[in-house]
Subunit: 437 residues, 2 copies
């Protein structure tokens, strides 16, 4: 009976997608993990492992022991394997590489040498190449040979005598071509490729713009080194979006639902402590205007609104810049056009909100002078805030500074300081007319 159950489960597992197997594995209590693994072939474990987080991947390698692990590793996509090994200690890496096939371990070593966020760090070697002089029949035969690992491949890459990439043929081209046609005659020769040191953002953009399923990675001599597939491009797009959101919210790197409280705290604290001291700067500006405040307490009532609004408009502009940089080509013309656009936006929203608050403040406090002070302050701070939210991140981007520095809270805090100086500056100028309040 047990044997029958076992084979039924194995059959089920065979029909499931790796993602679903991984969901099953995650759902099991840890004590059953070892048992579960015995139901899977090395091939299935290789698929499963690629769907899991590093902690679980390492746990599996541990449970399998070095020998079975090396078998599984030989079956993994080598970009995923390189990423996994990068998470291990140098000793462990050495241990695993030694039991792998020499040829494989060399490839892994060279993959591990590329920075993780470049094409070299993302590419895998799960591609099939054919020679430009071969026929469709020969290509199909080669494909049948490589059938087991070519599962997720949709293009064949064509190389010439010097092993340079000269063309690409899709499976569809092979299917509808005549068996005796030469590859050279059916291939597409204007191949779009990415350089091995291209940034991951460029890789994702290339795949997205051309609607590719995969893009070949080449070195400076146009030798084919690997491919990057569209599923990696999706992961890059998600990762880049998360980075943008980290920038805008200064939320700290890589915090998700599973991050431990202490880890999450320590990732957020550096930003918070920096912002604490910048916040104190606002306080010291206010203390500089103590006399003005002492005489016109009502000025304080509008302080949070003015500082908040300036922060909000700055964040709105910042969001446009941060996302725009990802999807547009930023040249001098675009930059000036954008700054000019945001200037006009600042004027429009400044006039609208300024007029509104002039009315409200005049009615609330019963002083037209105060209304004018608050209204004109808001007009100016909104224009300055909008421009700061546009110009600061663009300048950082222009000078190649990590734009993470231009995080949302930082812009907000800078705008806080601007807005307080403008507001209290104007109020002090009108002080004699306000003193009766």
């Amino acid at each position: 009976v047990k044997e029958a159950k076992r084979s039924a489960l194995q059959q089920l597992l065979e029909e499931l997608h790796p993602y679903d197997v991984a969901q099953l594995y995650r759902g099991l209590p840890e004590k059953h993990h070892h048992k579960f693994l015995t139901f899977l072939t090395s091939d299935q474990i290789a698929d499963l492992i690629q769907e899991l987080e590093y902690e679980m991947q390492i746990e599996i390698l541990h449970k399998l022991g070095i020998e079975r692990s090396s078998k599984v590793m030989n079956l993994m996509d080598n970009d995923d394997l390189a990423d996994l090994l990068n998470e291990l200690s140098a000793d462990k890496i050495q241990e695993f590489l030694e039991v792998m096939r020499k040829e494989d371990s060399q490839k892994i070593r060279s993959l591990m040498s590329y920075p993780a966020d470049t094409a070299g760090g993302l590419m895998n070697n799960q591609f099939v190449w054919i020679h430009v002089n071969q026929t469709v029949r020969q290509a199909v035969n080669k494909l049948k040979e490589y059938a087991s690992f070519s599962e997720n491949i949709y293009y064949l890459y064509v190389i010439n005598e010097e092993k340079k990439l000269v063309g690409v043929v899709s499976y569809r081209d092979l299917l509808i071509a005549d068996e005796d046609e030469r590859i050279e005659d059916i291939m597409f020769s204007r191949v779009v490729s990415v350089s091995v040191d291209a940034d991951q953002e460029e890789v994702a953009q290339t795949i997205e713009r051309y609607d590719f399923i995969a893009v070949p990675v080449v070195d400076a001599q146009n030798t084919l080194l690997g491919i990057i597939t569209v599923d990696d491009a999706i992961d890059i797009v998600i990762r880049e979006a998360n980075e943008d959101i980290e920038k805008l919210s200064a939320s700290g790197k890589d915090i998700d639902f599973n991050t431990k409280a202490t880890t999450a705290s320590f990732r957020r604290l550096p930003w918070l402590i920096l912002l604490l001291f910048i916040g104190l700067l606002s306080g010291s500006i206010i203390s500089g205007f103590e006399e003005t405040l002492d005489q016109v307490v009502a000025l304080i009532f509008f302080m949070p609104m003015i500082a908040g609004m300036t922060g909000n408009t700055g964040t709105q502009s910042l969001a446009v810049v941060v996302r725009g940089i990802v999807t547009s080509d930023v040249d001098r013309k675009t930059v000036f056009k954008l700054i000019f656009r945001e200037l006009r936006v600042g004027i429009i929203i400044g006039l609208t909100c300024g007029a509104l608050i002039l009315l409200v403040a005049t009615l609330w406090i019963g002083s037209l002078t105060l209304g004018v002070v608050v209204g004109s302050s808001l007009l100016i701070t909104l224009i300055v805030g909008t421009l700061a939210g546009t110009v600061i991140p663009l300048m950082l981007y222009r000078f190649g500074v990590d734009p993470a520095v231009a995080s949302g809270p930082l812009i907000t805090t800078i705008n806080d300081i601007f807005s307080l100086m403008i507001y209290f500056g104007i109020a002090t100028a009108f002080l004699s007319q306000l003193q009766h309040l």
Copy 2:
């Protein structure tokens, strides 16, 4: 000579990817657009049009005239066409649909009836289906017949007598199979599909998780209606990320580098005006504590810092929730775990920052009592701020309210109000000890 030039240009255009042709078109001054179009076949215009923004698409239709336009429309992917028509006036839609092939116009009409952000609104009908009883040879022949439009297709869908979706075969499966094998024997029968009314987020998640190139869309009876391809999934991921950023920054819908200043202003103003009035609420809280402030002016110096820090920590938590909802499954257990985690984060950062400011405030103002008031206020506001940034968006999500309501500035503003009440509340309680300042 002119003829030779023309044919050279046409050959070049033929070899370019649609994306590059679109870049060329965008780069040309408008007066040359008409001329440029005469170099392209209807097929190429259909490809070009799909890479352009709506404004340019409509401009092209205008330049081509109704007859040529309808030819081009017949060659477009019908999901792109439905999206384009949705941008036109009812009259124009009618006009175009009338000159199209009846069969096509009916399909377009039905596509246009699905909401744009559901599987139905995203799917296209550029798929090839085969019958479960056919052989590999028959399938390949069918494919050759559909060669011209099957360019970007990588799977064949298998249906049974009742036209239900029962399996899927990749081109690779066809290539490596024997010509006489039956489709039924080589197909994968555990097909993952999405329902026609599935949300776009679910569609993108399915494609991303299973690393699919395309996912079939079915109705409640499992009848195949269309497919959604991975390039659409990338677009969805980018759009969803942009929406999250809009939420976090309240930056207004769809503002990019090319949006006009007036349009951008009017999209941002509703939020800003709402936030203006909420900001005034903070002001009225302060005015409620006027007496306390009058007696201890130094309290004002720490106000921006406390309000700012509470806003920052709330935004940090909000960012984790907003991104987490996209990539994780949110169940009751996850929610409680997350809230408890953020509570602990709030305590850790509250204790750290509270201790720090106690020291700074005591030294700056020279009063340990004030240091204790500011420090304990920051401890409490950071805990409350962190929880508010976590609980509010989760509650909105739970009750199905559009989480766009929980935008970053809104959380910031709510936290502003909390922090002022806590800070001035504590200060008022200690008022008698503070009065000597």
